[in-house]
Amino acid sequence: MSRPTLLTGWGRTAPTAATVVRPRTVAEAAEALDRAGPRGVVPRGLGRSYGDAAQDAGGLVLDCTGLTGPLRFDPEREEVTAPAGTPLRRLMAHLLPYGRFLPVVPGTGHVTLGGAIAADVHGKNHHVDSSIGAHVRSLTLLTPRGEVLELGPDYGDTALFWATVGGMGLTGVITSARLAVHTVETAHLRVDTDRTGDLDSTLELMERTDHAYRYTVCWVDLLARGAATGRGVLTRAHHARLTDLPAPLRREPLRHRPGAPLSAPPWAPTGLLNRATVGTFNTAYYHAAPRRRRGRAHPLGGFFHPLDRVRGWNRIYGAHGFVQYQFVVPFGAEDTLRHVVEGLSRAGAPSFLAVLKRMGEPTPGPLSFPRPGWTLALDLPAASPGLARLLRGFDERVLAAGGRLYLAKDSRADAATVHAMYPELASWRRVRERVDPDGVLVSDLARRLRLV
């Protein structure tokens, strides 16, 4: 075995050492699982979980990005079958020429299909289309005992299928999946943009108009204070039809131009993102947005993945990294949302990527995050003073409101709180124990939150 490698999540906090192997085939993955020692093994994709979900201190990490191969698009059944290591951005680029699009696209295209299912990721269309698990027709799961199981929502071991959707890689290694896709006429969206003056008007506008759009998301300025607390820029969109496009774009309506990514500087000083710099950025961003604009055609890539234009943007938080805090609270718990937004605004915690979204129908995955309600996701530099206490206070409010934290984002919650937020944890464990009785699959996240 090779020397251990230090791994972190996308937030670049709390590195731990593990032996990394990169299987190219299912057989190689099975062999690696077999070699796992007492510290266990966990699959890893492109490392976009913010916290410690794809780390296994002292153990083995299966880098699944090598599990690639041909993508099979079936126009009759409106579905695509792909190896689990396929990045979603590649799937997207593959499907667009056929006039098809992924059912769910998270905030970055740099995630593997396997990782997306293991975190049951959601996108800007969650209020209409639910999360990715709702569109998985089947998946292949390699279990720690070397079995290769074909699982679906309506056949085979359905309990294991749903334990795997959102199961954070702790039920086995997903090696391929079959995903439903939908038809699009163009590679563009028709976007409506509105600026809102405060949190109440943000919530009111979203509540009133959300159902009329396929995609909605609101960027919230968490540093605005006083009367402007919770002001935001709301974007809502539909897939553009051919007739929505200006004439020059109609010639090649499905042409997808992801654009060459820029690179973030390799190093940034700790504290570059502070109250002053982020506050200035947020104010500028807010005022740069149109007060009200309708029907603007916007390329898919830029709408879904603006940050993918900057490779390694996570480095601008400096050596101490950052944490992402994402929670969902049921509709009716707007007070909790208000408490968090006001708390962050008061604390002056410098967050410039705060995103508010309404969620719809959940999947049956016991560890799947989405629940109907409001979800807020925000980034904060890990070195912010008093952050641990501030977030712990929010945890309590979120829990009391019947809400929960997103495991793919978490890097700091405590086990008891998360257990209370996921009441189906016990039933998930029972399914897991069936396929992994020896507890081979384990991650830093699983240890920290005592999931297994």
């Binding site: 020397r3 731990t16 050492a17 410690d52 002292g58 712990r392 240890r447 920290r448």
Partner: protein, 250 residues
């Protein structure tokens, strides 16, 4: 497991009655640690009040610094109690009096063994465990007394000098393993252990040392001085000519 904001779950204190060690543990518990092992000879019967009310689970463990052959078992026993060791605080030691050491060389050698060789064996056992688990921090209580050894306490100072050098080497050997060592160099800290020595300039309370340690653990430092001013001060001290140092260092 240390989380992204530096909160740890488990702490092992070697020298379970050390005032500085307990101050560090208390601070880590205030910040969220849930499991504590206090290791000392005969175990630690009386848990300090600050820890009892914390809600953290406090375990007592037999640890005999002089029985170096048992140290690996001690570390294993701590792992059996709490699982992965997130932070290990190595804080045991004896100060003694130079005059007494001068009169009884045997006692001096025994004190030197407790202050140096005992740490070698237990810290190596800890390091092996941290390397295996792929994460964790070992906090080693060194002292400015070992930075430049004074005639007034050179038995103690020389052992601390050895320990400090050992801990730095250990830190380098753990580089890249996910585990790390934090060397702490306090100055004069008024405690039971130091009650018999004259106060020195720039004293620090155990709580201040604990604050420095917590800061060091958060920032990823390899060395912390408590108080911070001792670092530039001792950089100068090291450069003093011997005749002058001899007179100063009574």
């Amino acid at each position: 497991m240390r989380d992204s904001l530096g909160t740890v779950r488990s702490v092992l204190l070697l020298g379970g009655r050390s005032e500085i060690g307990l101050a560090i543990v208390e601070l880590l518990v205030r910040e969220g640690a849930r499991e504590v092992v206090l290791a000392a000879r005969g175990g630690v019967e009386e848990t300090p009040a600050a820890l009892t009310v914390s809600g953290a689970k406090i375990h007592s463990l037999e640890f005999d610094a002089e029985a170096t052959a048992t140290h690996t078992d001690t570390v294993d026993a701590a792992v059996d109690l709490v699982g992965d060791l997130d932070v290990v605080v190595d804080a045991f030691g004896v100060l003694g009096e130079q005059d007494a050491y001068d009169r009884d060389p045997g006692t001096a050698a025994r004190a030197a063994a407790v202050n140096y060789t005992a740490h070698v064996s237990v810290d190596l056992a800890v390091a092996a465990r941290l390397r295996e688990q792929g994460h964790g921090a070992l906090v080693v209580l060194s002292s400015v007394a070992g930075v430049r050894v004074r005639r007034a306490n050179f038995v103690y100072g020389s052992a601390k000098a050895g320990l400090d050098a050992f801990a730095q080497g250990l830190a380098d050997s753990l580089h890249g393993s996910g585990a790390r060592v934090l060397v702490v160099r306090p100055g004069y800290v008024p405690t039971r252990m130091s009650a018999h020595v004259d106060p020195a300039p720039f004293p620090a309370t155990p709580d201040q040392v604990a604050d420095s340690v917590a800061r060091g653990l958060r920032s990823g430092a390899t060395t912390v001085w408590a108080p911070r001013v001792l670092r530039p001060l001792f950089t100068g001290m090291r450069l003093l000519p011997r005749p002058l140092w001899r007179r100063l260092g009574r």
